[in-house]
């Protein structure tokens, strides 16, 4: 327990939970069922709820449903070993939520772009059939209080570069016959399904549209630009940026994201939709420079050739709705978030070697 109490993740969470644990009191003694909980979001949520149990006597129970517990066993054995955490290995399309559940956190959307491109029908099936299975099961629960369905900011379509931040009502259309849009289209359909269940089965459903996150429980092998930069730097290579590095992203750190999700899960009103992500934009070239500075022998940053057709992209949410309604924190700036993430990756790497 001491190790956990002193862990960097717990140290990040405690100050945030101290400020909001009273808002989360409905969670006391409750059973939280996390579908797709074996990855970044699910593990951070579990870290937060177990911290509430340890530090604030919440006495909550958590069940993590995951396709495979390999990641959990490798990177979060302390969670798996806890009495208040149980693990169910199961495809999200076969979800059966136990009767004792009060809260469902659904984060089983596959985020790997590789899967979206190579297996678009499987991706669509996981997204759509998965969420249906969860709602069908949830409709039978006697004491269900809330469902938080984690969708994605991808449902909006490509963000125009000149749009500073993407708000919840700023939809754009996209062509569903384009293969690379099938992920977004499937998520839109899943959101429509959730709206249907909310109406027909009177299920309490809140939708969170996730943007980009950062922190422990992410590996450098993730196929996103920042993680490519970190992987290059860890291996002592030059950091390579495709294009001119002017594309813009934002990153919400894991502990902040966990608290945002917890507030929506416990306090969110059915039918409401919220963006979840950092509103602080940063250019990729700045991200690369931050990564480089973290290393004693700073790697060089190389811009790869930039053909004229390469588009500058932007993926930054407007989060004034969730900030206004819940006063959620932005406690870790992007530079600290990157450093914390790299430190976790390096520490984990050492431990696993």
């Amino acid at each position: 327990m001491n190790n956990v109490a002193n862990s960097p993740l717990r140290r990040d969470l405690i100050p945030l939970l101290e400020k909001c644990h009273q808002n989360l009191s409905d969670l006391k003694k409750a059973h939280v069922y996390i579908v797709g909980g074996g990855g970044f979001m699910g593990l951070w949520l579990t870290e937060a709820i177990t911290a509430l149990n340890d530090e604030f006597g919440f006495g909550s129970r958590i069940t993590i449903q995951t396709l495979s517990d390999a990641f959990l066993s490798t990177y979060a054995p302390h969670l798996k070993a806890r009495q208040d955490v149980s693990v169910v290995c199961c495809d999200c399309r076969n979800t059966v939520v136990p009767e004792s559940t009060q809260y469902i956190f659904y984060c089983a959307t596959p985020t790997n772009p590789l899967l979206h491109q190579s297996e678009p029908t499987e991706t669509a099936s996981i997204i759509v059939d998965g969420v249906r299975a969860m709602f069908d099961s949830a409709a039978l629960l006697p004491d269900l209080r809330n469902i938080l369905f984690v969708s994605s900011g991808a449902v909006y379509g490509s963000q125009p570069f000149e749009m500073e931040r993407r708000a919840e009502d700023s939809f754009q259309s996209f062509d569903p016959s384009v293969l690379s849009n099938s992920f977004s289209e499937s998520l839109r359909f899943a959101e429509a399904i959730s709206t249907g269940y909310r109406n027909e089965a009177r299920l309490p459903v809140v939708i969170a549209r996730a943007f980009a996150f950062l922190g422990p429980y992410q590996l450098p092998s993730i196929a996103w630009a920042l993680h490519n930069f970190i992987a290059d730097a860890i291996e002592g290579r030059s950091i390579r940026i495709l294009g001119d590095g002017e594309s813009v992203r934002s990153y919400l750190y894991g502990s902040d994201a966990a608290v945002w999700f917890l507030r929506l899960l416990v306090n969110g009103k059915s039918g409401d939709v919220y963006n979840v992500g950092s509103p602080e934009p940063i250019r990729l070239v700045e991200v690369a420079e931050i990564v480089a500075r973290r290393f004693d022998k700073a790697p060089s940053v190389t811009m790869l050739a930039q053909p004229a057709h390469l588009r500058k992209t932007r993926f930054v949410p407007n989060v004034s709705r969730i900030q206004h309604e819940f006063g959620v924190p932005l406690s870790v700036n992007v530079e600290d978030a990157i450093v914390k993430t790299i430190d976790w990756m390096l520490t984990t790497r050492k431990c696993l070697i």
């Binding site: 590789l114 190579s118 092998s221 490519n228 290059d232 050739a305 053909p307 004229a308 390469l310 588009r311």
Partner: protein, 363 residues
């Protein structure tokens, strides 16, 4: 104002290996690498015609091992980066890719048939993880639609490819075909795009120009066009044309002309020409690398090699299916396929396109 840049990749010592039945010697690799390096050619690709690990009875055995080829090239390239062509299946990660990386390869181009990008995932990921510049290559790109090509390219991008090159492996395209495909790739991808030409219909330079005009920034060219079948876009001409168009290739024109001379004197057995068989290969949409085995087998079975090409095209045969050449030749010798292939000859492109559309639906 700075000139727009085009990255030249030179597969003379890889595609050219097709033209000499994979018999390039270490001394030839050394002498050409020195000349290419002096010219400042950015990427020099070396290996068996079908890439590393492909030396085999079916595809043709290399005169020297991959290890000798790559280590020889490595020791003679100072400025130019050393590239390899990798077709998963022929090349394995453990046996071939790791060896190539240990030998100092800089650029890894992972290739698949134009409808099978899925097979490149592990090799692309491995190459990226190893920190190598990694491109995806879609071969026989005339055998799928521009939309299909863009979808496969997008897969490679999602696996981590840092650029996508499409190959007109049978020299089938006309400039408008290339422009259409480049437009689709440009709209779908957010990484550089490129083109690799073959000269079966005399369109290699024109097609490369069309590609550049539609946004391609990686263009392949070989010394004297040294490559499979009718050869590739001739490197020396390509550099000169791009210079005239106002592009910066970073290649020294005089020295690349010298490299062409070196290649002709020491490497290229026979400067590629557009033979009648090459024209038929281009029309039929059959891989240019089939030229040598088709000629040999046609002679053996006493059939017209042009009939073999049209029949191979009618069947949608691709590289790696070389054993079909014998089957087709044998059937032609018996007269089984002659009627069909003559029909194909008469109606060539229309029939071939129909057949290919059918194949695509099934694939």
């Amino acid at each position: 104002m700075t000139k727009p840049q085009v990255l030249i990749s030179d597969p003379s010592l890889r595609d050219g290996n097709h033209a000499v039945r994979h018999q390039l010697q270490a001394s030839q690799i050394a002498v050409y690498c020195e000349a290419a390096d002096a010219a400042g050619i950015p990427i020099v690709e070396v290996g068996h015609g079908n890439g590393i690990g492909a030396s085999s009875l079916q595809l043709g055995e290399s005169a020297i091992s991959d290890e000798v080829m790559l280590s020889t090239a490595r020791s003679h390239l100072k400025r130019s980066r050393l590239g390899i062509h990798v077709i998963p299946g022929f090349a394995t990660i453990q046996r071939d890719l790791k060896l190539a990386i240990d030998l100092g390869v800089d650029v890894i181009r992972v290739a698949s048939h134009c409808t099978e990008a899925d097979i490149t995932q592990r090799h692309i990921e491995f190459s990226r993880t190893a920190g190598k510049t990694t491109y995806g290559v879609l071969m026989m790109s005339h055998m799928t639609s521009p939309t299909g090509l863009a979808e496969e390219a997008k897969k490679m991008e999602s696996y981590g490819a840092e650029g996508i090159v499409i190959m007109d492996s049978s020299g089938h395209f006309l400039p408008a075909d290339v422009a259409d495909r480049m437009k689709h790739l440009r709209e779908a991808l957010n990484i550089p795009i490129g083109f690799h030409a073959h000269n079966n219909l005399g369109m290699a330079i024109a097609n490369s120009v069309a590609a550049v005009q539609e946004g391609a920034t990686i263009i392949d060219g070989t010394a004297r066009g040294f490559g499979a079948g009718a050869g590739n876009a001739q490197l020396e001409v390509l550099v000169a044309v791009l210079e005239r168009m106002g592009y910066d290739t970073g290649v020294d024109l005089y020295k690349v002309l010298d490299a062409g001379d070196v290649a002709e004197k020491s490497v290229v057995e026979v400067v590629p020409t557009i033979s009648s068989v090459s024209v038929v290969s281009g029309l039929a949409g059959v891989f240019s690398g089939f030229a040598k085995p088709v000629a040999r087998i046609a002679e053996e079975f006493k059939v017209d090699p042009r009939d073999i090409f049209f029949e191979l095209g009618r069947r949608g045969i691709i590289a790696g299916q070389e054993d079909f050449i014998i089957e087709v030749a044998a059937e032609l010798a018996k007269g089984d396929s002659r009627h069909k292939s003559r029909e194909a000859l008469a109606t060539n492109v229309i029939e071939l396109k129909t057949t290919r559309a059918g194949n695509e639906q099934r694939s």
